[in-house]
Symmetry: D2
Subunit: 309 residues, 4 copies
């Protein structure tokens, strides 16, 4: 069987199947409701924005680590091409792209991870097919995020530049960071969990960035569930701690988050500039808007998340 | 030369080169400032959202009309693939995509259209190359949009289901729609210009949708400039009216908007649900959030725009 | 069950499972042996060549008929790009391509079609996976073809420009064409079955070309088996006759050829110039060389077949 | 200017412009004539084949070294997909691919390299465009190769496992290898220049394979010209020696071969098995068939070359 007993118990405890109806394909996205949106919007004071995305280009963290995942390859269909052929006339530039869905900053579909032959809400894993993709729980089912975002600034709390690779974030860490942020986490809030790992990517060491990393863990699952967090995003490639806490339960956070909780998660976010903003402005909450690209039946989706103060 | 005299005069009149500095690559995106963002945010009351994007899949409006533009082809890299190979264990689903940048709802880079050997702000057209794309005025230079959105509901104003193909929208139309919306357009507002043309796409007649269409025209250029509109998006494929008002000045709106004004424009938006929302709620202004995917040096970029009431 | 009784009997009669060993993944490619190669080579007299491929470009017969199959989209990675940046210095042009494997002239992998949960030689159908492709009977297992090619010129035999759409070729037709060609078909010969259907493609009517077409049929299966034909290629998109002879046994030729016989087949060949050559030279046999591109675990493979007289 | 004086002289000496007409786009492919084809065919005795291609898959030598060049990514469009949905019924497997044209064993288009604003036969370099590719001297203009192949087995001649990285092959080396092969090189012969470098690729060290390598050089240009060699292929990634003999004349062999001689060249061939065959059979000449995939206006083309004894 997929998980050791105690993790099965954990999974059962946080399982949200049926919570929003038997047909639900959105999981904790349901928690990001009108109240959460209004709570986020109410935080806008300066009209100042911070993009939380990394660039989509050949420097993508996807460099062959996972089979078939390729960095965005953008090529030109036309370069200053004139319809008339006359020099100086109107000319167009046009392009095309091929990429792994998860090449950059992205959000996971709930269908991304299954076990026991089932995905979130009990849909059969076979509802994902080679020709049609995720006919249940595709990334396009999630929809827009407009909510309060909270920076969980773990390096700031711990007084380090970045967390150590392999560090499993704890519930206590989340409590400390929320306290540091002077916020009480409410249903539908979105946590931006900063580890600082993305510094390695910016520094050009994509391999280090992609491999051993700090991350969410079995210690944080219940906390996220108990607080009815709407979504949590990280500045790492793997999302959960790596190497795994237990090799016999590899990818356990993906398993429980996506399949049991229906939890909205995403990776390759960049919180470095955001941390500076928060420090400067003296607050760690803001409006977060993040609308995944609506790729039909996709297993993940590119998203450009933006914090507004 | 590229344009008849009177259109050259028009272009000169609305030209924004140097307005935001000689290095500026963002054009009217600069108008979408803190005030505009706060104005938009202040409109949120219900916490209710409306996606303005069409789905990204094989039904895309890109069906070979423009050379090389292909609909999104999303294929699977893994279907319920287990690392362990044991039935029931954790399994992953993963995918990849190839598509024209402009395959769905997108925003144009200012570098998308050039003439006279120059793009916006006087940058040489040669700054777009086959290997690097738009090294000036790429779509990634624009950045997030958080502003007041205004629905310009032309079919509602005119009492028709949708505008006729080939109808050139006028300044009077925009005035009438703003009045109908009971708004005074301010600097940095974003206009969502509804023609109803997207009904053809939803009805399955992609060919009709892609070809003859109503659209913005030489009649609307000065109005958009005079009102310091931040951006205007349409529910058509071509954006401007088609067939052109004058075949000798084909694509003139693209030419003047992108190259002279540095105007932020986008296509294949869907305003049908939005129009219903506005009618129901009795207002035509809302928070608009639309963050183009940050493809480095891209000539256009997918965007998922969302209206929040 | 997959096939009506009499077709099950036919399938059983021609089934080659185990004939070349339990591990064999090459089927009738095994018949194209040293003798066949020498027989082909011995026919070269003039050193004159005829390409039997259609061009690989946006005019490909793949135009969305089958889900996800796209025409080749070739884009440039660099256009006269100099390493030094100095005008006139060495400059390179480079390109990339995305396409359906079957976009042009191609050969089918034996794994392309399965039924009853099995592919050729009894391998489980599950040996084809989303992440790895055809781990058994991939197109790369077939290898080079060097053999005697025989033009089966059905329009010439029947005195028509091309066969009618929907015409099911018969064993008698093959006999008549072999007699017309003045050849005795031997083990390992490769039949180039000309119907003339490709004229529709050349004429620009891709839709007509892709749909109703003449083709091989249940009438020809035993003949091909009895003569130990090495491979048979057609100048059509579907290969077998369309509409099917019996809708309850749709794609029956693919089923029996690929899964039961392990028969090497291919489509979108062009025999128009070849027919002219044969008429001019007064013979219908020649050296055929056709080496499928070695895409690992592919379900079909592009091939550039060439006849040499 | 592009080349030092003595290399300009060399280029002038071997320049074939106009030799086969002012419209010629095939260069030395013209030398592979009926005689050459018959000479090749006459060598077939055993009907025994050797593929000279490397596999097309994610292990491709294209690993990001050259901008935008990606390894073949083959994904499934359908996995055992039944039209009827009934278990056991006819089911299809289908796939698609994206790749750099030069991802595997390939042939260069004559338009691949230009200098002084011109390509082979004096065509303007501008005849290559972003939207259309090589409208002159594309890879599709070359056509099939059926000729005598000669293994130039340099490691065998020199008694080493493989040539040293950085070794510039000389005219004397070619003479010695031809003598070792006991052949007199004739017009239209195709040289398969074995360095052994591909052993590094097979050993998994793609980086070493792709970088410093032995190769053809300025010493071999005149020899190839004087002997009217039809084409020469190597078992290396770069083709010519690397690092360059003179950094001021980087890629000089590409420059002179492609632009001045119109010489047919190709890379990433595999001659390890061939060398064993030749040693076993006691001869180094054979039939070579190699038909580049007919990608319209391509800058290089995949090819599956086969030696037949």
């Amino acid at each position: 069987m997929a998980l050791p007993d105690e993790l099965q118990e954990l999974a059962a405890k946080v399982r949200n199947w049926g919570r929003w109806g038997d047909d639900d394909q959105r999981g904790t996205q349901n928690l990001i409701d009108a109240d959460a949106s209004r709570r986020g919007v109410a935080l806008v004071e300066h009209g100042r924005h911070r993009s939380l995305a990394i660039g989509l280009d050949e420097k993508s963290p996807q460099q062959g680590g996972a089979p078939g995942r390729i960095a965005p390859l953008r090529t030109m269909l036309a370069v200053n091409e004139s319809y008339t052929g006359v020099e100086g006339d109107c000319a167009f530039n046009d392009d095309t792209v091929v990429m792994a869905m998860s090449a950059g900053t992205h959000i996971d579909a709930l269908a991304h991870c299954t076990y026991g032959g089932q995905m979130y809400n009990g849909f059969p894993a076979e509802r994902v097919t080679a020709s049609k993709g995720a006919t249940r729980c595709g990334a396009d089912k999630l929809g827009p995020i407009v909510s309060r975002g909270i920076l969980i600034d773990l390096p700031a709390v711990k007084g380090v530049e970045r967390l150590e690779p392999g560090y499993a974030i704890t519930a206590e860490d989340l409590d400390a960071a929320a306290e540091h942020a002077r916020v009480t986490v409410q249903a539908g809030d979105v946590l931006l969990v900063r580890t600082g790992q993305v510094q390695l990517f910016h520094g050009g060491d994509t391999y280090a960035y992609n491999h051993d990393s700090p991350g969410l863990s079995t210690h944080t699952v219940e906390w996220l569930h108990a607080h009815d967090v709407g979504a949590a995003f990280t500045d790492t490639y793997i999302y959960e701690v790596w190497p795994p806490q237990d090799w016999a339960a590899m990818m356990v956070v993906h398993m429980i988050h996506l399949r049991d909780m229906g939890f909205v998660q995403g990776q390759n976010f960049d919180f470095e500039g955001l941390a500076a903003d928060c420090a400067e402005l003296g607050r760690h909450e803001f409006l977060l808007t993040a609308h995944p690209e609506p790729f039909t039946n996709a297993l993940s989706a590119p998203v450009h998340p933006v914090a507004t103060f």
